[in-house]
Symmetry: C2
Subunit: 414 residues, 2 copies
Amino acid sequence: MPEPTAPRPISRRRLLGTAGATGAAGLAAGAVGGTLLGTAHAGSTTTPLTSIGTTVHPFHGTHQPGITSPLQTHGHLLAYDLVPGTDRRGAAALLRRWSQLAAALMAGEAADVDGTHISLDAGPSSLTVTFGFGAALFDTLGLTDALPTALAPLPEFSADALDPDRSGGELWIQIGADDALVAVSALRLLHRAAAGSAVQRWQMTGFNRTPGATARPMSQRNLMGQIDGTNNPQPEDEDYDRRIFVPAQGDPPWMAGGSYAVVRRIRMLLDPWEELAQEEQERVIGRRKSDGAPLGGDSETTPVDLAALDGAGRPVIPVNAHVRVSSPETNDGAAMLRRPFSYHDGLLPDGAPDAGLLFVCWQADPLRGFVPVQRKLDRGDALSPFLRHEASALFAVPGGAARGGYVGQALLEG
Amino acid sequence: MPEPTAPRPISRRRLLGTAGATGAAGLAAGAVGGTLLGTAHAGSTTTPLTSIGTTVHPFHGTHQPGITSPLQTHGHLLAYDLVPGTDRRGAAALLRRWSQLAAALMAGEAADVDGTHISLDAGPSSLTVTFGFGAALFDTLGLTDALPTALAPLPEFSADALDPDRSGGELWIQIGADDALVAVSALRLLHRAAAGSAVQRWQMTGFNRTPGATARPMSQRNLMGQIDGTNNPQPEDEDYDRRIFVPAQGDPPWMAGGSYAVVRRIRMLLDPWEELAQEEQERVIGRRKSDGAPLGGDSETTPVDLAALDGAGRPVIPVNAHVRVSSPETNDGAAMLRRPFSYHDGLLPDGAPDAGLLFVCWQADPLRGFVPVQRKLDRGDALSPFLRHEASALFAVPGGAARGGYVGQALLEG
């Protein structure tokens, strides 16, 4: 968990009761780092609306933010490649600039930042900024000795239709915030801070539900209408940290406290999907659409019973249902923390919606997280015919920066 | 103002205190039609978070929704052209389908709608759906006798760089909601309901701030960081309705209670804009960036004093400042209700941000609203060099539908 930041002159109050309301299934308890900036309405039994603006997450700590912290309403994913001629020292200077900027913006100190200030009157609105390194960076900087084996290229999957221009990247930024202007403001400032050092390779924008839009805070529906992320590792699981984060005695050492992010732009073929009857959709997924309960189960939190049979002796959850194929029980316990954003970018030239999921998942080792699960899904998942993986990237996300330091310092000054 | 809907079996409560919190400058009092669906937290002095989901606006009434109702967080603008062969009867059937769907979704009855139900567990989240007719529709349907003179093509402006593929359109839908999934769900259902009758011509997606992200509820900043819409007509103005809506004895009669929407996709040249010092930006606009106060004024609500001179006898608000050139006082009292969304669609091939304002303004007559103001801005506005108008459309937006009726009925069955 991120360390709380040092005391600041502005009064603060622990964020109570809103973690679940952010709608991040299974991520609620990851919000313990969230605090309220400024004065809150004392004596109210409900969370004041303005807590959306004033919620702050710490930038510095053991881990970077934006991994276990609750999903935000707005997200931007940006990939950059270094400008030819930028060496390790130049990359270090860029990461220092980016880290200082991210820390200031996340703390609500935008007014102190020389820049556009377009979100001046809002608090940080749960802003998180997360930085990652792609395998190509190690070639470019002559750091192949430090390349983690976990950054080996992802295997090809049969459902892949990858666009190289929107895949890969030497540097990655994930921005999330509960206010669109705060998110765009961070994007613009970070982008400008890269000028001369790195050029943008691709950019994607996504969204999640507005805090408070539903009274069922665990629900985070995707554009297929299915509740997403129910099976995520839970913070109370004894192996939660071990599954998500590289341990303090990391391999390589500079990745101590880090994690690996798999990013997939997964287009949903919504036209044929929406032609299915609800019962057919539910058999594809293995969960009820209304409440996310596994078929045959009572509620979203009912454990998935893969052994259950119906009266005719057939599996209650079909053999190729998404929830069965992706279940940790059928994958040697492989698990990843899904933390996606939906996207909707209009219609494609053929009239199909350019919409789906900016799938982001986190794990200590992709070869024991995303890869085996996706391999299995690729072979027999009933959902696969409705999905196209259109972009893919894998990033090493170093541990959090210490105060006065910057993300990736142990690599770039190692 | 929209009429309240008839009593429903679900208990309701007037929406108190949240209108301003939606952040729509000058539109707050337009929210009187907003009600809360379901039970609200009684006894709380602040609005519970869940009111974001449960706020409902009426579809039926004198005027359509989405004109004076508060700006929402998420917006979609869609234009359609009729499929060749669709006649007046087919268009009427489409508008009836669309109207019934919009009424059900806005009332939070999505579960009763045959469709994807992807926002099933949220309330309507202030959803509004607004329908408009472009001039081309009258040609297509042989209704040129009913074409309003106010739908005459907008003049060309020197700052225009219009893309015809993203301009015009026979039919227009404006969707707004405070939850992204509710907005996308409405978009998908309306889109599917058009199948066979109309094809999508263009689609744009925008955003505004999240309710509660800022404690200054009047502030609706655009991507230039400026507070937008301060000078909007106010509901308490005695000529408010007259400026925005066609009177009951309308000309043409089928437009009684209607309004005209000018839609402009205005790209902001953010790179050069952000190079300006804050003081330069403020002189371009004529307002302080921090709080929106006119230069020389105390606060955002301080009336703009165009006559004020500084110690050296120069105008405090520069002669070409945006606020001066666009001021009603310098335009024979012309006024329109600005109700825009920001957009940010990534970077263009040249590296410039594809970002700006989906400018939507409302008036009883564009020739006395948008046109004279834009003509003047086009000649001498200090802001113009930082803007490109990339798409343009003008729609006649009929009055609201009666229960059992549909939008445009008086035209299509007239």
